[in-house]
């Protein structure tokens, strides 16, 4: 079980959080083509390496935040706000 550092509550066990999947997915408007809309709905990167994803501290403050996590080692490289741009890592 991982430990995530909630920006509001500090380090807590993974089972207090819910993962919301990939971050930084732009939502297309109504005018978007079926192709673009389909990619927004269903297509996600599945990297072996750093993945930027959003988590919610469900059993705590209820806040969403972003995490940059290595999918092999589960190392958490960065925790940053939902509204922040993805950090440049190594």
């Amino acid at each position: 079980m991982m430990q995530l550092n909630c920006p509001w509550c500090g380090p807590r066990d993974e089972n207090e959080f819910a993962c919301g999947g990939s971050s930084h997915i732009a939502r297309p408007g109504l005018a978007a083509s079926d192709q673009v809309w389909g990619e927004y709905l269903f297509f996600r990167d599945n990297p072996k390496g750093v993945h930027r994803e959003r988590w919610r501290h469900v059993q705590g403050c209820g806040q969403w935040f972003n995490v940059a996590r290595h999918t092999v080692t589960h190392e958490v490289l960065s925790v940053y706000a939902v509204t922040d741009a993805p950090p440049k890592l190594g």
Partner: protein, 983 residues
């Protein structure tokens, strides 16, 4: 008499003044306080303890600890009977009851042992190859009955388990000299330090020696404030240094108070750094019939002699592949046991000249055969190239070298390397977040282990890199120059403990009856990867998880495939290190706490008024209020009829309730709902659908406006948490500039609903404000009101199709309001009604229930909301998905009403609609179905392809071999003009 109790002072852990009587296979035996069951059985010369898993061969005690492969017993009585417990881990106590496993009618005369006679027919993969035609499932029940070892109690566990979370700077696993040294050093460096020891007595593998140094270290650790947990076995290390450990409070087989005791405690410890000091297992020698009772690990025999004062035999032969054999020989000789010879597999050049010390060593030799079936009577020694020699012995000890317990290191992602001179896998540098010390790091020399462990403890306490373990000899770059060759003290061993080409049944895995021949067969059939070897032969499975078999199996596979052990590698070590009870994992999450039920604020009131409760999602709700002798269905029919005729009282408190505030609340709700909520006037209410981004209908409910910046939302009971979470996600992650707050208030507000033609009369009689009367308060409006100072939010809405008032009020006033209203019920001939009656009424009215009539494919257009969407040009969640070609396909399933053609037969929910009986392409299915008391015939809702275009058509409904003809109609079934809701 071969095994027997030794005279004092042998037996450091037993108290000879306290005799303990216990029962094994119905025979009363005695031992001493401090004995394990295994020690006490050996002291009573019980050699035959159980029968093996596959071949039903006689087996005895093989080890003195957690690695025990054969000494499995069922212990305890009644509900506390525990199956397949290792006899080496059970402390005996007065009246302990234990039984052999896997034998019938008795361990001595076991019918299934006849299988052993056909052993040649039962090679690895036998079941896979034999029982495949015509189908494995034909044979499975019989084979499953024959398989398995002990028997469980068949009753639920009467005891309790609990869970504790803890955190520490440095966590040490292992209470030996290395672990204690690391703990003391870490604590001295100022770290918060915790130490877990699996045994009752810290001191590690050699604790029985009454070691002065270990005792001093223990005292020092206590003084420094190290948190010490004994009887606590770390069974796994998980992400980010979370170590899980099981603390045994009451061992298996213990007598316990009725009503249950605390049996085990799960520790979840988050550590900044972890130090594994878990020691090593002894590696068995492989030779023909090396599974006979009376063959056991050398270190175990030594421990039985010194810790428990038990000589496991009187005439001992030691099969050796390691210097440790000679130390055991001397140690046994010291307590008066006759060691006949050490049969050393290694060539003379590998044997240290000073080690023999008067013990007869037969170098370059192996055991060629063992005589005795239920107990060892002798063996033949075959010197390589020499003449066989027969030895009369009653105990054969295996000293095949050691295998460091690298499980935690490997679980943590650490790599292993093969240390050729000692024939063992050792950690290849530290694993992330942890380091290994002592024997589990390959450091067997006591002084070197203690020094290295202290350095590691100090370094990790200070957040520095741990120093490498002093192993690997001069050829290793990392230790050259600072430490000399042989510092590790592991000695020299050969990879193979057996002599290739020796005939006979030579067991690699005693618990799973896997022999060298099985490994060779796997190699021939190309199951050469260790992972395949394990699954094909089952070596390394079971309660011991290959603790004694792992290295021998992969060495044998290497020989068969001409590979070095390092090339063969090991199977991946996964948690748990040792079996963990399901009780420990479940903890307190059992019984009523498994899935806590939600109760209505007026639960007791409903109970007192005859409610029949059922589970609806997490809620316990009145399904109906049956009269004496009345069925649930009949009660629902009666209640429905009363509501339609006069009035009924319903508790709708589980209805989901959210309040949405803020300057952007209206704009936000327009984005969330299919309906437009910004155009609602204050006091108005509107029905709305909630979609996800796929356009799928997720929930529905009524939205009312309480103020310019304040909305009151009802959702389904089951959907409120999901909806609240979804709103939060949109607000926090997408519409981040919106000034909106969402507050779930479901449990804050109770909902008391009065419905029926006399609903208002009833409320008026009970004293409700006349301003709420139907002529001044319209359908789909909400008023804030009060009754005797209690604030009310009264919504005129209806799920029954009748005039309806949903009275929301603070939850703690729910019972009082129900009581107050109920006092007037007789005046109107009114009744309480439950969820069943509500279901009947909403189906009569053609109202959908999300999740019952809809599923994960239902779009708003499928349930009659195409026009609502056409009217709303603006964006909302899921709208773009509704423009996809699939969303506008005319063949989609659409909501329809169905009535049986015969006017009598209830259409079963889930029944398929198709032109011909199955197998046929389905055209849809029945989603809701009830008998309408008003119409006197069944009515149903269904999803039907092109349903909206098929009104009047006759369709066929198929259910379990019967076909029912039904007519497609347009709901609602009653009051199509919807006049009744207006009172």
């Amino acid at each position: 008499m071969s095994a027997q109790r030794l005279k004092a002072p042998a037996g450091a852990w037993i108290d000879r003044s306290r005799r303990v009587t216990f029962t094994f296979n119905g025979v009363r035996l005695t031992g001493f306080q401090g004995d394990t069951l295994a020690a006490a059985l050996l002291a009573n010369d019980v050699r035959l303890v159980g029968r093996s898993f596959k071949l039903h061969r006689p087996r005895g005690i093989y080890s003195c600890g957690i690695e025990e492969p054969t000494g499995l017993v069922d212990v305890g009585r009644g509900a506390r009977r525990t199956a397949n417990v290792r006899a080496t881990l059970i402390p005996i106590h007065e009246n302990l009851v234990a039984q052999s496993v896997n034998c019938w009618p008795s361990v001595g005369w076991d019918l299934a042992a006849l299988i052993g006679g056909f052993a040649a027919l039962l090679p690895a993969g036998f079941y896979y190859k034999t029982f495949k035609w015509p189908s494995w499932h034909l044979f499975e029940p019989t084979i499953r009955r024959m398989a398995g070892l002990g028997r469980g109690s068949g009753q639920s566990d009467p005891d309790r388990y609990e869970e504790v979370a803890a955190e520490t700077d440095v966590l040490i696993v292992g209470g030996g000299v290395a672990g204690l040294s690391a703990a003391v050093a870490a604590a001295q460096a100022g770290a918060k330090t915790t130490l877990l020891a699996s045994g009752a007595i810290p001191g590690g593998a050699l604790g029985w020696r009454g070691d002065v140094e270990a005792t001093e270290l223990l005292e020092k650790a206590r003084r420094l404030g190290v948190r010490l947990h004994s009887r606590t076995m770390a069974f796994g290390i998980y992400d980010h240094n979370l170590v899980c450990a099981c603390e045994t409070i009451m061992p298996d087989g213990s007598d316990a108070a009725s009503g249950g005791v605390l049996r085990e405690r799960l520790w979840k410890i988050r550590a900044r750094a972890v130090i594994a000091a878990t020691g090593a297992f002894e590696r068995p020698m492989v030779f023909p019939d090396n599974d006979r009772p009376g063959v056991m690990l050398a270190g175990a025999a030594e421990k039985y002699a010194h810790a428990f004062g038990v000589a496991c035999g009187q005439r001992v032969v030691i099969a050796a592949n390691s210097d440790s054999a000679y130390a055991v020989a001397k140690s046994l000789r010291d307590v008066g046991v006759n060691v006949l010879a050490v049969v050393d597999r290694r060539p003379p050049a590998m044997i240290r000249a000073d080690s023999c010390d008067g013990v007869r060593a037969i170098a370059g030799a192996a055991i060629g055969s063992v005589s005795g079936t239920r107990a060892v009577r002798g063996c033949t020694v075959i010197p390589l190239g020499g003449k066989p020699e027969r030895l009369q012995c009653d105990l054969i000890l295996s000293a095949g070298g050691h295998a460091p317990t690298v499980h935690l290191h490997s679980q943590a992602g650490g790599k292993l390397r093969w240390l050729d001179e000692s024939a063992m896998f050792v950690p290849d540098g530290p694993a992330p977040g942890m380091a290994s010390v002592g024997a589990c790091a390959g450091v067997f020399s006591r002084g070197a282990a203690a020094d290295h462990a202290a350095e590691v403890g100090n370094a990790l306490a200070r957040g520095l890199a741990p120093p490498p373990a002093p192993i690997g000899g001069a050829s290793d770059e990392r230790v050259r120059g600072t430490m000399g060759r042989g510092v590790s003290g592991a000695g020299r061993s050969l990879p193979g403990t057996h002599v290739p080409g020796t005939p006979g049944k030579q067991f690699v895995d005693l618990q799973n009856d896997v022999t060298l021949d099985d490994v060779a067969l796997a190699a021939r059939e190309n199951y050469r990867s260790v992972e395949h070897l394990k699954r094909y032969t089952t070596t390394g499975m079971g309660t011991d998880q290959g603790k004694t078999s792992n290295i021998n199996a992969l060495v044998a596979m290497g020989e068969c495939t001409e590979r070095e052990p390092a090339q063969v590698g090991t199977t991946r070590f996964r948690p748990p290190f040792s079996p963990v009870t399901l009780g420990l994992i479940a903890g307190r999450r059992v019984g009523a706490l498994y899935r806590p039920r939600k109760h209505l604020p007026a639960h007791a009131w409903h109970e007192a008024h005859g409610a029949w409760f059922e589970d609806f999602g997490d809620w316990r709700r009145p399904a109906a209020y049956p009269l004496a002798g009345e069925s649930l269905e009949a009660a629902a029919q009666r209640e429905t009829a009363i509501v339609r005729k006069t009035a009924g009282l319903f508790d709708g408190s589980p209805l989901g309730k959210l309040e949405v505030f803020g300057p952007d609340a209206a704009r936000f709700l327009d984005l969330m709902y299919v309906g437009t909520m910004s155009t609602l006037a204050v006091g108005q209410a509107r029905y709305g659908l909630l979609l996800n981004e796929n356009g799928t209908v997720m929930d529905d409910g009524i939205v009312a406006r309480l103020g310019e910046q304040h909305y009151w939302l009802n959702t389904s009971s089951a959907g409120v948490d999901r909806t609240a979470a979804s709103f939060e996600e949109w607000l926090q992650c997408e519409y981040v500039d919106f000034k909106v707050a969402v507050t779930p208030v479901t449990s804050r507000w109770a909902n008391v609903t009065v419905a029926g033609p006399r609903a208002w009369d009833w409320l008026a009689a009970a004293g409700f404000d006349p301003a709420l009367a139907p002529d001044s308060m319209k359908h789909m409006t909400l008023r804030e009101s009060a009754l005797d100072g209690v604030p009310l939010r009264v919504l005129r809405a209806s799920f029954s199709g009748e005039l309806g008032y949903e009275v929301n009020l603070p939850a703690d006033h729910a019972s009082a309001l129900l009581e107050r209203l109920w006092a007037y019920a007789d005046r109107y001939g009114a009744a309480l009604y439950g969820v069943e009656a509500l279901q009947v009424m909403r189906v009569e009215k053609g109202y959908i229930h999300i999740g019952t009539d809809t599923d994960g494919t239902t779009l708003p257009g499928d349930i009659g909301f195409a026009r609502a969407m056409d009217r709303k040009a603006a964006e909302f969640v899921g709208r773009r998905s509704l423009l996809r070609p699939a969303a506008t396909d005319p063949d989609r399933l659409q909501l329809v009403g169905l009535t049986p053609a015969d006017g009598k037969t209830l259409l079963p929910v889930g029944a398929q609609i198709a032109a011909s009986p199955p197998p046929a392409l389905t055209e849809g299915h029945v989603t809701s179905s009830y008998l309408s008391p008003e119409l006197g015939r069944p009515v149903a809702l269904a999803m039907l392809t092109r349903g909206s275009q098929r009104t009047g058509e006759r369709v066929r409904v198929h259910h379990l071999g019967t076909t029912i003809e039904a007519d497609v109609v347009k709901p609602p079934f009653i009051d199509p003009a919807g006049k009744r809701v207006h009172g």
